[in-house]
Subunit: 345 residues, 2 copies
């Protein structure tokens, strides 16, 4: 601020009106006489006035910002959801704050602090918020200003926007079954994650419905990461009876799996078929191009943003608490799936 800051009062002076009028020109221009309005806007332009948000927010008892809680900023999966969210708020006068919870949400009561004094609302992409944090948020009356997107916390009354994870898993299994696979393994996410449960459930349901064999060691614990895909590959390589197809809880896991399998001479899809989940941009360009369940991440983010906006603005169609908005998913068939090898059992 090298140049002295232009206040609303300077504008008022230049326009020969009161500060109240300038303020009104900004918020409710239609309530001013044509003449006055023009004078004010001319003054605004000539003085180079910019509103001071700190002052406005203080006065209005709001912060003008929303907080996005991301489990892991360096995971490309989230960036497109962020893009969706960010796109919506860009059109509003809210600023978007982004915080990485690093898997282990704000240890101290930082979240509480933010919830109360730094932001008007929160979108959490992290479903692993500690119960006490949730309590605090709820207890502080911030509950109607927080929603979940993508992930969510079980048994919370907060609304959420999520992909149809169960259906996604079903689609994957059905696709593999349609190709002739019967021995299908699944690499899960971390045990405490809601997505893990939803996808595994869909997988199990469909497996049962189709009467496919169930072996315990075909459910392999992972954590959505590339590394866990690699580990799963090693597990599979040492199995006495290998599955002919693997449904992975994320594309990253699928990449880790395929890369390691390939390095060990197992060909995908000739020897083993792989289905991912997410359809990140890269999946189309993997070798082989990955068959996967597409999540509309941008749309999901945008929808979450709008939902929060509604609640903040006391919008008309304010959804009931606990509402769940489900975004459809779709199967994208590429080159990582094929009929099982003829000689396989």
């Amino acid at each position: 601020m090298a140049l002295k800051t232009v206040r609303i009062q300077d504008v008022a002076q230049a326009a020969r009106v009161s500060t109240a009028t300038v303020s009104r020109a900004l918020s409710t221009p239609e309530k001013l006489s044509e003449e006055t309005r023009k004078a004010v806007f001319d003054a605004i332009r000539s003085t180079g006035y910019r509103v001071n948000h700190a002052a406005r927010n203080l006065r209005m008892q709001r912060t003008g910002a929303v907080l996005i809680l991301v489990p892991n900023l360096s995971n490309p999966f989230f960036s497109q959801i962020l893009a969706g969210i960010s796109g919506v708020f860009m059109e509003t006068d809210y600023s978007v704050l982004i915080a990485d919870t690093h898997g282990r949400a704000a240890d101290d009561n930082r979240l509480g602090d933010y919830a109360l004094t730094r932001v008007d609302g929160i979108i959490s992409l992290d479903g692993a918020l500690p119960a006490e944090t949730m309590q605090e948020v709820a207890g502080q009356g911030a509950a109607d200003r927080m929603i979940f997107a993508c992930e969510w916390v079980q048994d919370t009354p907060l609304p959420s926007v999520r992909s149809d994870n169960v259906e996604g898993a079903r689609l994957a299994i059905r696709h593999l079954h349609g190709l002739g696979h019967r021995n299908i393994a699944h690499i899960t996410g971390p045990e405490d994650n809601v997505l893990t449960h939803a996808r595994r459930q869909g997988m199990l349901e469909e497996r049962t419905r189709l009467n496919l064999p169930a072996r315990d060691d075909w459910i392999i614990r992972g954590d959505f990461s590339l590394e866990s895909g690699r580990e799963a590959a090693h597990r599979i390589l040492t199995m006495d009876q290998r599955p002919t197809a693997v449904f992975c809880c994320s594309d990253q896991v699928a990449f880790g799996l395929i890369s390691t399998l390939t390095a060990h001479g197992v060909r995908v899809p000739q020897d083993l078929s792989v289905v991912g989940f997410d359809d990140i941009e890269l999946s189309e360009y993997y070798v082989p191009a990955l068959t996967t369940i597409r999540q509309f991440r941008r749309k999901l983010g945008a929808r979450a943003a709008r939902l929060l906006l509604d609640r903040l603005g006391g919008g008309p169609a304010t959804p009931v608490p606990g509402e769940v908005l489900t975004v459809e998913v779709e199967l994208v068939i590429r080159d990582s799936t094929a009929p099982p090898p003829p000689l396989a059992p």
Copy 2:
């Protein structure tokens, strides 16, 4: 805010001191008597007080936030830089605002608006800010509160933190040359991008130094994207004389290239070697695992954050304007490069 908000005054009352004392307890606790300090902190705890940042910021003539300008949020390359930046600011009382410039930086004077009233400082990962925007920023005295990271704007006095792009390109070419390649192509970034120039320059320098053949059509225009890698592949497939190796300006381009080449029966690295740039997490898990130039993105982000922090705080070692901090890069050799095929010229 269901519960009435606790003000500094309420704390003062509870602790039987003045508001000034409470304020001091928060900012300079060492200047209070043991006794008073304890009383205040007890009161803070019992009342559940939280500072109101809008008020503090208004008073202190600051905003308590920094803005990160990202060319494209959905590009995984940036997310880890963000993580690095975000990690540093997490330790401070600055909030991190993230805005996607969508390649075409804030059309309206939104950036100016932000620069002046919503944030104390800016880190731009976008080197393609229109000149007029830069002018505005400079003109507003915001120049000493803005820096670049990763990308930068040519001929600007603003400091920047960047990878050693030229050296990275040299390393790539040297590696390929060491394997026996002489016919090396390069897929560039967009023409108006500073990284494009730096990397191409390094590439050309080294090619000259090593006395390698230069063909114009071996410099292929791209734009860092997967799609542009695919397009480049098609170009290469139709060349009368194909290069035996390709140095790509980004890992994404390399993926697009390899995936398309593979689909057309060209094997990497047996028929053609490929080197990327960035070393995004996935590169290690690609098929084949990608040989590439590693950028320490997290470190780069963190360093940029600290640089800005210094300038905001008027830190001791405030760097001179225009300073360039260079972060080293390194060659990571994996499986996408090999000696050229024996039969090739």
